[in-house]
Symmetry: C2
């Protein structure tokens, strides 16, 4: 399972910050973040999630937290999921249909505020769901949390691993530790036969080229998709074999 691959030291140190990033969007970064949070909670860890994907926030839906915080005071208190995961998201600050029209400098300020003003309860892990790419938010996080460790999510395609390789360069530039690569939607299991719809082993090749471990190859599963849309991540609500993926 993915969780058992994370180094021992992660589970003992105070709050470990894991920045979950990807080059391209749509590779499953938020889905993996939600499932990782749910899976870690199941093994007794206290988890907080900061949804820093300001334009494409989807963590509240994926973890089943939807209502907006009421009143200004409550605005920087995380919401709690039914299983006790603390969640702070851009989604709490915009009304349903409104686009977040913030340019670089405003974004930088918003993220700083998320990091410094949110009233987190003690946690073993802080998972940061970053926006895809290497823009303002990713840079702010890399600069503000020098101890953050990077987990790179990719799908097998060249178009995805190309861009993911560029994000990994950030780890070198800001001296962040690269935990490894997760290859998501690695194959579709069609009655026992694996179909490599998006290509084969792209994530594996990326991990080798970055000299970092390939932590997991997660298949395309309708239940993973459905779990993401319904706020019930399979790492917590799925069958035994689904839970063991994470």
């Amino acid at each position: 399972s993915l969780i058992s691959q994370l180094p021992d030291s992660i589970s003992s140190f105070a709050t470990r910050c894991i920045a979950i990033c990807s080059g391209k969007g749509g590779v499953g970064k938020s889905t993996i973040t939600a499932n990782l949070a749910a899976g870690l909670t199941l093994v007794g860890r206290r988890v907080a999630v900061l949804d820093a994907d300001v334009y494409g926030f989807s963590i509240p839906r994926m973890l089943g937290v939807s209502a907006q915080p009421s009143g200004p005071r409550a605005r920087l208190e995380p919401q709690l999921t039914a299983s006790g995961i603390q969640v702070m998201s851009m989604g709490f600050f915009v009304s349903d249909n409104q686009p977040v029209i913030w340019r670089g400098p405003l974004l930088h300020k918003a993220i700083q505020q998320f990091l410094t003003d949110t009233i987190w309860q003690p946690a073993d892990f802080l998972l940061l769901d970053l926006p895809p790419g290497t823009g303002d938010v990713t840079l702010t996080i890399a600069q503000s949390l020098p101890n953050a460790e990077l987990l790179i999510i990719t799908t097998p395609q060249l178009t995805a691993t190309d861009v993911a390789g560029r994000v990994a360069q950030l780890a070198n530039r800001y001296r962040l530790r690269l935990l490894g690569v997760v290859e998501n939607m690695a194959f579709l299991n069609d009655s026992g036969q694996r179909q490599y719809i998006f290509g084969k082993d792209g994530g594996k090749r990326l991990a080798e080229s970055l000299n970092t471990p390939l932590l997991a190859q997660i298949p395309i599963l309708e239940t993973v998709c459905h779990g993401a849309d319904s706020g019930q991540p399979v790492a917590q609500f799925g069958s035994h074999s689904e839970r063991s993926l994470f």
Copy 2:
């Protein structure tokens, strides 16, 4: 086919600018852009593509244009694909592995320069592949090209259509015309049986809620993915039935 759905006026006016956008990344926005460009070229239109997805540029690979322009002078001349599509991309300005570490204001300037200084040959269509979401680049384009029309790409999941709905709000705010919605990866055709891996008709519901046409529902096809990775879009290189998708 998608192309036949575009209004007649598009094929007659000087250069029509179509901004291809999405809420979330990874929904196939660049793949659709590349296939639209290839398909329009096949029916005799002159096409230019600006890859404005500065962090996750993938158009050069998808249209089979890879070499970087040589020397400073050539830097703002588009590259030509074998079939004559003009391509300008962020990818021409960064070396292979380097991340684009530009914050908002620099991005704004780069996009302005792309729009004003690129030496385009006359074209019927300018397709703009925008970054996902509603950040700096999308705003700069929306403000600089008031005649641009928006084509929204989504996959069926709620997490994708939620965010796509927010991008559509930009059309209202900047008085841009919304051409319609394309639902990509709508289903997987498994020996005649449709599997709705990512959900069913999400794009259709989005189009209805935005009161705009659903222009196409494109299936998940290994050949589409392979065509994207190899620079041979199926709209040009695929079988008859694949070409008719676009």
